[in-house]
């Protein structure tokens, strides 16, 4: 991937489109990196999901910068950001908003909830009750909110960045598989390297660098970029490759539950965005391979064999990728 900005095909306008995508994405990446240091892979996935109009699930232990990442993203892109701290007593209406009756006017007025924003940060989503979780997840899938029989569309871009602690920690409700499926990708931030942590002491010691993070783009531009990403070419061989890969999760004996067709769509969309991030107007196997684990792993349910062999879903996906031949010459 070291030659990410090289491109050899030519696509006329499409190539210009992806060049623009890459340029903007680089700006955003640089901006976020002033806050989150030493996590290029996480940033890349985050930007990919943003451009693919997906939702991101960040799963990690507390204090590694999950929230900071989401906030930084919101600041770098000059758009509305809402944050919801999920707690066990949070109600669905706390997310979607409620209609309040105005006696003087004699009508209901809708008070939009925090979900009406371009980037919604759902902190510790697995602490909320399943009912509340599903309210959010419905918004994620439909990109609209239905309250009192009225449907309100959400402004684009709409991206939910949910964080959750590992499910084996106390006081959490694990997301059901069906709901995990709606997240395009799941990443782990992980602990920073010792050097990054040292730097962090310096930069975060006195004041939050977040305050100095100036927006480098805006919602309108992101919408435009998302539109452009749709035109990235996926060769027939590559489509087949993605389908084969997703299919392999369904037939793998180690897995109780494979990836859904939605996973296929997500994977293709993410691959497009990934290619565009590198300034390429066509998808290559490396895009899919780089995204397979983040996009697929959280949707899978390991079977008893995997448990016995202590194989995580990530490892299983990596093995499947390593066994699948890449599409050859046309």
């Amino acid at each position: 991937m070291s030659l990410g900005t090289q491109h050899d095909g030519h696509g006329g306008d499409v190539q210009e489109d992806v060049d623009a995508v890459a340029t903007v994405a680089d700006r955003v990446r640089d901006a976020i990196e002033t806050v989150i240091e030493g996590k290029p892979d996480v940033l890349r996935i985050t930007l990919t999901v943003l451009l693919a109009e997906g939702h991101l699930l960040i799963e990690d232990v507390p204090g590694v910068g999950k929230t900071m990442l989401a906030k930084a993203l919101g600041r770098a892109v000059d758009c509305s950001v809402q944050r919801v701290q999920f707690t066990p007593d949070l109600l669905p209406s706390d997310i979607t908003g409620v209609s309040i009756y105005h006696q003087d006017r004699g009508e209901f007025e809708f008070n939009p909830g925090p979900v009406f924003a371009n980037i919604v940060l759902g902190d510790e989503i697995n602490r909320a009750s399943p009912k509340t979780q599903s309210a959010l997840l419905e918004c994620m899938a439909e990109r609209q909110v239905s309250v009192d029989g009225e449907t309100r569309a959400l402004e684009r871009p709409f991206m939910v960045v949910a964080t959750q602690n590992p499910t084996d920690m106390e006081g959490t409700y694990a997301l059901p598989e069906a709901q995990r499926d709606r997240f395009m990708a799941r990443v782990s931030v992980g602990y920073p390297s010792p050097q990054a942590e040292l730097d962090m002491i310096d930069s975060h010691g006195s004041r939050s660098p977040l305050e100095h993070l100036a927006p480098v783009t805006n919602a309108a531009e992101i919408r435009d970029l998302v539109e452009r990403v749709q035109h990235v070419h996926v060769a027939p061989g590559m489509r087949r490759y993605v389908v084969d890969l997703v299919n392999s999760t369904r037939t793998a004996p180690e897995l109780k539950l494979g990836a859904s067709p939605r996973a296929t769509l997500h994977l293709v969309r993410a691959a497009r965005a990934h290619a565009a991030l590198e300034g390429r107007h066509y998808v290559v196997p490396d895009d899919v391979q780089a995204l397979a684990v983040p996009v697929l792993a959280h949707r899978l349910l390991p079977g008893p064999e995997a448990h016995m062999e202590r194989l995580s879903p990530e490892q299983i996906v990596a093995k499947l990728v390593a066994r699948l031949p890449v599409p050859g010459p046309r």
């Binding site: 030659l3 499409v14 590559m238």
Partner: protein
Amino acid sequence: MPLAALVTMLASLSLLSGLVRGDTWWVPAAVLMTVVALVSAAYRSLVGGAFAVPFLQLFAVLLLYAPLFSPETTVLGFLPTLDTLDHTGALFVEGLHTVNTNTPAVSPTPGLIVIIAMVFMVFTMTADFLAVTARCPGMVGGLLLSLLAVPLFVDDAGVSWGPAAITAIGFLALLAVDMWVRSHEWGTRVSTRRGPGTPPDGVLGRVGLAAVSVVAVVLALLLPQALPSLRTDALYTLAEGGIVANDSVTTTHPMVSLRRDLGADSDRTVLTYRTDDEEPEYLRTFALDEFDGENWTMTPVHAGRDSGVDGTLPTPPGLAFAPDEDELVTTRISLDSDTPPMDFLPLPYPARSVEIAGDWYVDESSLMVFTTETPPSGYNFVVTSAENRPGARELDTAGPPRSLTDDRLHLPQDLDERVQELTGTLVEGADSDYESALALQEFFIGGDFTYDLSPPPVPEGTDPLTHFLFEDRIGYCEQYAGAMAVMARQAGIPARVAVGYTAGKPSGEDRWTVTASDAHAWPELYFEGSGWVRFEPTPADPDGGQGTASRPDYSSGVDELPDDVAPEPNTEDEPEADESPEEGPSTAPESSEAPDEESGAATDGWDETSAVSGGQGPPGWPAAFLVGLLVLSAAALPALIRALVRRARRSAVTAGGPAAAHTAWREVRDTCLDLGMDWDLTESPRSTAARLAAVGEKGLGQETEGALWRLALAEEAARYAPDPRPVQGLQGDLGTVVAALAGSVTSGRRWRAVLLPRSLAPWRRPRIEADPVPGLL
């Protein structure tokens, strides 16, 4: 360039113009050379590369060979058959015979033409390789030198100026074309640096260059003079065949030396000697005791510890009484220092002792004295010999040859019956072997024979012996001696041909001088009790014969007994240079093709063991050669196929087009497979490039890595992009990468990659792992 090499080699054909008669002998050679060069040129320009060129050239020659040289043996007019093989063998034998038995200029027999054509074809291929493939056109000069040596060695006239100049011009043309091509190649690049070979600018530079050139030329001329080991006579030694190891002695054909001396018609002094004998014997150098149907040859002699000369020589075979010590004749022989070194001594027969420095050996049955070392060119020695001059009566009453151990009566089965009839007629009425011998000798002296040092060529297909006896009856001592020896054997008298010198002319008191024109050959006949006895069928007339020949008393009077006449052959000597055991056929030599002549001569005596050296040999050798060639070709087949595939791919890559990237990448893949590296179908081009870039201890280097990435990304775009754009420079990148990959492994693996390319084996190719995902693929 291939065409320039062709022109050069064609020009060198003119070197043989003085050696071969006729106008058309060079045509087949020129045709083959042209074809070879055209194949090279066509392949190089159309396909590119050089690896397959020799194979294609050989193939083309194979196709052309049969129609050119033995059309009657072919199938469909061009397919060679087994008969072609036999015919080829026969042609070579004939050609070598021509080379060995004629003096220049020889008439172009088909065999000779084949040999010339083959030699020049091989030389042209070599020149093509040197000049084009190896880009060392200067080395073609070596080939031309060896060709130049042919006329130098076989023809006393040397090389005339014309052909030498033509050859030189051809060579210079080749060099000029090479320079032009090189400058053309470099000219397309803009370079501020001066390439090698560009003359320095400025007056000073030019003067310096000229000075260096002059110094180089002067040094080249002077240095050899300063080195004693490079005297010209050393070249002579080379030319005439030196000594071969294994105690077996080789030399050039004695008859070749004989012919050269006689042909030179010079008065160059070969040796002088002092003797108290008033009628000195001939000085004999060689005894040729085997007749193969055309040539008299010498049974190989061997130098062993037992056969060293330590003064006294073995007793001459066949003598009834040991020679009386008092009757020994002492001869002090001084070889002239201008004479080429002789490794066989010219001695009077029968010599009894020899005093000479160095390691010399004697052959017991023939009393030839020889050395295995290269003797100095001028030396002195003292020889004592018996006076073996039997009376006519002794000879007349000699019994059957009991004490002769070797079979000296053997003759080939396929001799012309007319010879036997003639012999029968001549000896009819003879009461003894002696009378038979006299009758035979008289037949030559008194008959209708004409002595001529340059007899007309023997028509092809004709046996030289029968031609001499029944057709033209023109010849010189070689023919006389050979024919009489054959007929003597037919008459039941053991016989052999001696080669050496006559006694020469007296040059003062006790002193005799032998010149090159005294070279001679004569028959020796065996009589029990008297041993080997010299006869003289050659006319002794200074105008129409060997002027210094003499007829022994016993053989001059047909009548009674000339008492104390001394018959017997004895002395002679020969100024020639070496000789040796092996060869032996008689007849003159020289032909146009030196390499062939030498190798041919060598094989004559050697047939079985030395077939490789190229000459005739039994017709089986071409078969062995072809089988070897086939085996080699089969072994080289994988490499050839792989090279052709690579060649085709490279040109496809050069041609560009959408598939160029695929082709280039496929070549990278196959190179990896050949070199034993992994190739994973689940790897994308990028991952593969990243992996390969780390191959070897230090990786491939930045430049190669860049080339590798360009190839990988081009392949990636060709595979996955909607509208892949042709990429320039893939050809160069491919070359860089392939070379770097090959350089990253051990030489053993490299060789295996060349000889047994794994990429050609379908079962060694990477395959999709069996059912990676059940039911999926």
